[in-house]
Homo-oligomer: 214 residues x 2
């Protein structure tokens, strides 16, 4: 397998964690998003969305394809390599885990990604307003995530092992810190992050451990 990513991309980071949790090796191809690598013709042929991550899978049953969208890639990894599960439990529990992941991957991250912030700058907004935008959507979204975990046993988002929810949470908290979001009102999320930080699968996936880290 070959994962196309960028060290700082939250979405690629999620997939790196998933690969590590599953104990899967992948070759890594890095595309510099701040230099427009995701819009290079060769990459657009792989993923017409011009976004990382994209996963080139090995040939074989269910493989031999270019998969896109981090959550779809994680679900594919979970279907083709079920242990350990990223979506454990019954249908209700799986729905709650997916909803938490989507509260980040749909309602926070795409509203504060590079493309959106560049558009805000292009509209003439000063840098303080652009950073304020990112802080607003992250703070608002993470507060809802904290509430979504009310009553869920820890130490991870959903119980005693990491799930798709933790894969999304850890990169989003890091983004929050980069933009100066106050996180101290989110004790449940920070406890889940601490539980993840103890695991080699999460540590090896961190941006500063990638070959293209700056």
């Amino acid at each position: 397998m070959r994962l196309h990513g960028y060290f700082r991309s939250s979405a690629a980071w999620r997939v790196r964690i998933a690969l590590n949790l599953k104990g899967l090796d992948a070759e890594h191809a890095f595309h510099h998003l701040r230099h427009g690598g995701q819009r290079a013709p060769d990459f657009l042929r792989l993923n017409p969305q011009g976004l990382v991550p994209a996963l080139e899978t090995d040939d074989g049953p269910g493989g031999g394809a270019v998969l896109t969208q981090s959550l779809a890639i994680c679900e594919w990894l979970d279907e083709t390599h079920p242990a350990p599960p990223l979506l454990p439990g019954d249908a209700r529990q799986r729905a709650r885990i997916r909803a938490f992941a989507q509260a980040i991957a749909c309602d926070i991250h795409p509203v504060q990604n590079l493309k959106v912030l560049a558009r805000l700058r292009g509209l003439g907004l000063p840098e303080a307003e652009v950073t304020g935008w990112a802080r607003w959507i992250i703070a608002d979204g993470l507060a809802a995530c904290e509430a979504l975990l009310a009553g869920e046993p820890g130490p991870f988002c959903f119980g005693d092992a990491p799930t798709l929810a933790d894969l999304c949470l850890v990169p989003q908290l890091a983004n929050g810190r980069r933009f100066g979001v106050a996180l101290e009102g989110l004790p449940r999320l920070l406890a889940a992050e601490a539980a993840c930080a103890a695991l080699p699968a999460f540590r090896a996936a961190a941006p500063d451990r990638q070959a293209d880290a700056e």
Copy 2:
């Protein structure tokens, strides 16, 4: 089951289609998003994210919960009521269907929803810039969706029956029209929409057929 929605919400519309395709009845509770119904205390107790849809499920195995996030709800419906499948095929095909759905549900819709457009207005941008923002993200995202279907047999997004991809496509095309996006360069998407329009499950889910339609 009880679906909390709003006639014009793209995300609630997706779930209405899914319920209809599965032949499931649900009671409908409507919350007027333009009047802040999603931030009423009673609704926030159901869904701390303050977003529609939310699905109150019946008691029973895997049920008796409040489920949130439209794609997570659709996956739950597919797991608990498998026929007809919203995610047919092998792991690779399911990954492609999920990626298409997420290209809309993550990368288009949350960047042009009411909350984001209201924030742009709050930053002092004139209405033409706000509408232009919505047109930009929808046009850009739908062009990528058209490319994602290259080589996929129709008439629906992925073959001869509707999937999770079509559930996301139809409401997003309607949003595109509301904002004046030029759609004529998207023949494959329009053909899938036409195939959906022939199905009662899609017709009955349309905003103008809901009890709260204006």
